[in-house]
């Protein structure tokens, strides 16, 4: 069974409604390692060796965070800057991550409709996630379609529950080597907003 590393970043989890439940939904899975970055490195003092070893020990890297300013909370960026070293993760000799798969799991305040050319945010989620996609590519990883929970400000308890169950099911698909099924399952959520 493939192993999944959830790189979780939330600077104020104590105030979160959705992310706390999402993490609770998957952390009991025995093929999942949740790495709570803000709990681990409150002073941004990232232990590079520890992080690189974690990456090497897993097959999937899930960047799980709220979608702040069309990107991730600052600690995710710090993590990328420090851990994805040249000569290790990328560059002529940087093959440490080659063949692994990466995806983003994000929550947004805006509704799904806002993330399209005619919406308030003018771009789709996948367009906005291009920096992460290209980061994965440069590190010779495959970038899978994202898992997105929209409208986190108004979401109902039942919807949170459902989102958690879906998150859990999707990670299970990945762990059992059904990445293609995962992509297929995600497709309707990512395209064809017009329909």
């Amino acid at each position: 069974m493939a192993r999944i590393l959830v790189q979780f970043a939330h600077p104020a989890l104590e105030k979160s409604r959705v992310n706390r439940r999402l993490i609770a939904a998957v952390e009991s899975l025995d093929f999942v390692t949740v790495n709570d970055l803000y709990e681990q490195y409150p002073d941004f003092d990232i232990d590079v060796n520890r992080e690189q070893e974690l990456l090497l020990a897993h097959d999937y890297v899930v960047l799980h965070h709220p979608f702040y300013w069309y990107s991730a909370p600052a600690l995710i960026k710090q993590w990328e800057d420090l851990v994805l070293e040249h000569g290790w993760a990328y560059g002529r000799t940087g093959n440490a991550l080659a063949g692994k798969r990466m995806l983003s799991v994000i929550t947004t305040g805006g509704q799904r409709e806002a993330y399209q050319e005619t919406g308030a945010n003018r771009y789709t989620i996948q367009q906005l996630l291009v920096p992460f996609e290209q980061t994965a590519r440069l590190c010779r990883m495959e970038y899978l379609p994202p898992f997105v929970v929209h409208g986190s400000l108004r979401i109902t308890e039942a919807e949170i529950e459902a989102a958690g169950a879906r998150y859990r099911a999707l990670l299970t698909l990945l762990a059992t080597g059904q990445a293609a099924e995962y992509a297929a399952a995600q497709a309707p959520f990512l395209t064809d907003l017009a329909h």
């Binding site: 003092d45 070293e85 560059g91 002529r92």
Partner: protein, 638 residues
């Protein structure tokens, strides 16, 4: 070794081993245990020790000398200077007023005025040995009562010198054996000017020796790594100073005290302290036993009414005088009562002065033998007086009434208990309160406790290592215990207690320095905080910034260094535990510094903290920039 000496030593040791733990067990304190042991083996009891008891007492007086040396060691000159007002004011007034009151009492009893004055002076002194020992045992020296007591006792030790000079003037009969008590005093016959000069020279000599002479000696001895030689050196120093003082007619205890103060700032302070402390304990024990053995029960039985009346009157007068004088100094009624009652007995110096007086014809022999019994009895009663104060009187006063509170079924329910609210603990406590975390505080400083109580904080006065106090503070419901005590020993004692009775408490402990941190790590504590390391690194960061290093780099360098240093601490603690050999503290510190520097050198990446943003390797890999095309050379027209 002759069998007789060995046998006698065995008698004393056996008595101590039997009685002292028993006395402690029943909450009577070790001093009373020793006194009881002395009575049991003395002429009045089993009669195992007899006339030689007096010689034993002389030997054992060296214990008092060592004790004052140790007290001096803990008192840096600056602290002593701060205490000058209570020493001169409270101490001076106590001696003068008490001496006058007691002399008046003696006059009323029909004693000649000269003898009355002599008695007043002698009986005004209190027992440094018993009182200081008791205060130390109860960790009370830091309280106002402890400070006042210490000041008074110190002044009394100084006062012995003028009293010795004054007594011969009060002689009513020709001296029986001239200069018997002063037979060690070279200068007894010398003119006053020479004596004064010798006195000043001797004290200056002690100060100079302590300040400049002893350090190289201790360093040399420490380097040899032979612990017993180090101990011998320390004992030699104390013994030498005591002898020198006796030669010039000063109190040996006072000389030892001066030597201690001078060495208080030396790096060997703790080493010396821990090395000679057992000698002090044993000799003091011996001293108390010889006091117990010296009590002449036959004489007491024959003059029971007179002696009982005298003991009662003297202790009442001494207490009353200090109750009057101490109020302003302690500023607290509970503390004042402790101070006054604690000093109500007559001290061991009275034995010396009484025998001096009878030999010099100052007091008639009949009077001195009764006075000696009175002194011994008042000393024997002192532990009981302390008990009376602690158990009966103190509970009647305000917040320090710990026993009363212990009976209180409603214990505190705060999640955090802070033991020690001094300069370290108070920052932690304020931070937690600022974040709405309820904290219960245990502290020793009576003034601080009162202030905090007035601010409405749940504060308990007393020794956190007592089970009942911890229980009252809510230790069974609390989650976290923060230990910010000054002494590592007390911290460790507390840890043991907490682990036994409140195993659920998470313990966070402040360590004074690296050595304490090792102790705590050895004790298996996970959360150990050296009090200086974070602040030193913050200073280091600012220094780097002043030198032009960018702020973020400096800050990350400090974080890296802290992680590295914590790792070094754990690793060196393990190494240290393996190596049981003894090194002197100073030598150990140097070795440790070397080990630390090696450890630093082995970690080459301490400076390279920003690999992620370092683009050296990227630059090397980047394709060469297109070079500017070489322009065609214009045809040369040659």
């Amino acid at each position: 070794m002759s069998q007789a000496v060995l046998l006698q030593a065995l008698v004393y040791l056996a008595a101590a081993v039997l009685f002292v733990p028993l006395a402690k067990r029943f909450g009577l304190g070790s001093v009373l245990g020793y006194l009881l042991a002395g009575m049991a083996i003395g002429p009045a009891g089993l009669g195992l020790v007899g006339a030689e008891g007096q010689d034993v007492m002389h030997v054992a007086e060296f214990g008092v000398v060592i004790m004052l040396f140790l007290v001096g060691l803990e008192l840096e000159p600056a602290v002593l200077w701060k205490l000058r007002t209570p020493i001169l004011g409270l101490g001076g007034l106590q001696v003068v007023v008490t001496a006058l009151a007691l002399a008046g009492l003696a006059l009323v009893a029909g004693i000649a005025w000269q003898s009355a004055v002599a008695l007043g002076l002698i009986l005004a002194l209190s027992s440094t040995a018993i009182v200081l020992q008791t205060y130390k045992e109860q960790h009370q020296l830091g309280t106002p009562a402890g400070q006042g007591t210490f000041a008074v006792l110190l002044f009394q030790d100084i006062a012995v010198i003028p009293i010795l000079a004054l007594l011969p003037l009060l002689a009513t009969q020709p001296a029986a054996a001239s200069g018997a008590a002063a037979d060690h005093n070279w200068l007894a016959a010398a003119p006053g000017g020479v004596r004064a000069l010798a006195l000043v020279a001797a004290v200056a000599g002690v100060v100079g020796l302590g300040k400049y002479g002893m350090r190289p000696v201790f360093r040399l001895v420490a380097r040899s790594g032979l612990r017993e030689v180090f101990i011998a050196t320390a004992l030699l120093l104390v013994g030498g100073v005591a002898l020198l003082m006796e030669l010039v007619g000063l109190s040996p205890a006072l000389g030892a005290f001066v030597a201690g103060v001078v060495l208080a700032t030396s790096e060997y302070k703790h080493e010396i302290e821990s090395d000679i402390d057992p000698f002090k304990g044993l000799l003091l024990g011996l001293f108390f036993m010889s006091v117990g053995a010296a009590i002449d029960f036959k004489l007491i039985r024959e003059n029971s009414g007179l002696i009982a009346g005298a003991v009662g009157a003297i202790m009442l007068v001494k207490t009353a005088v200090l109750l009057l004088l101490g109020q302003r100094f302690t500023g607290n009624r509970a503390q004042n009562v402790t101070l006054a009652l604690g000093l109500s007995q007559v001290g061991e110096f009275a034995f010396v002065l009484l025998s001096f007086s009878s030999q010099n014809g100052i007091l008639p022999a009949s009077l001195t033998s009764i006075a000696t019994a009175v002194v011994a009895l008042s000393m024997a009663l002192t532990p009981l007086v302390f008990l009376l104060n602690e158990r009966v009187l103190q509970p009647r006063f305000g917040p320090s009434a710990a026993p009363e509170r212990a009976a209180d079924p409603i214990a505190e329910k705060n999640p955090v208990i802070i033991a020690g609210f001094g300069r370290y603990g108070n920052v932690v406590g304020r931070f937690l309160r600022a974040n709405d975390i309820g904290t219960t505080v245990l502290d020793f400083d009576a003034d601080r406790v009162e202030t905090l109580r007035q601010l409405g904080m749940p504060v308990y006065y007393g020794d956190a290592s007592r089970y009942d106090l911890l229980h009252a503070a809510g230790a069974s419901q609390a989650k976290v215990l923060i230990l910010a005590l000054d002494s590592a020993e007390r911290t460790l004692a507390l840890v043991t207690l907490v682990r036994r009775h409140f195993p659920h408490l998470r313990i966070l402990v402040r360590a004074h320095d690296r050595a304490d941190a090792y102790e705590f790590i050895d004790a298996g504590l996970a959360h150990v905080y050296r009090e200086t390391v974070d602040s030193s690194l913050r200073l280091g960061v600012d220094a780097l910034r002043l030198l032009g290093v960018r702020a973020y780099h400096a800050q990350r360098a400090a974080r890296t260094f802290l992680r590295h240093d914590e790792r070094a601490l754990r690793e060196l603690a393990a190494v240290r535990k393996d190596r049981k050999t003894y090194f002197s503290t100073a030598r150990q510190r140097i070795q440790e510094l070397q080990a630390l520097l090696h450890f630093d050198a082995a970690n080459a990446n301490l400076r390279e903290v920003d690999e992620g943003w370092d683009n050296d390797s990227l630059r090397q890999e980047a394709p060469p920039a297109p070079t500017t095309p070489v322009l065609p050379q214009p045809p040369s027209g040659s």
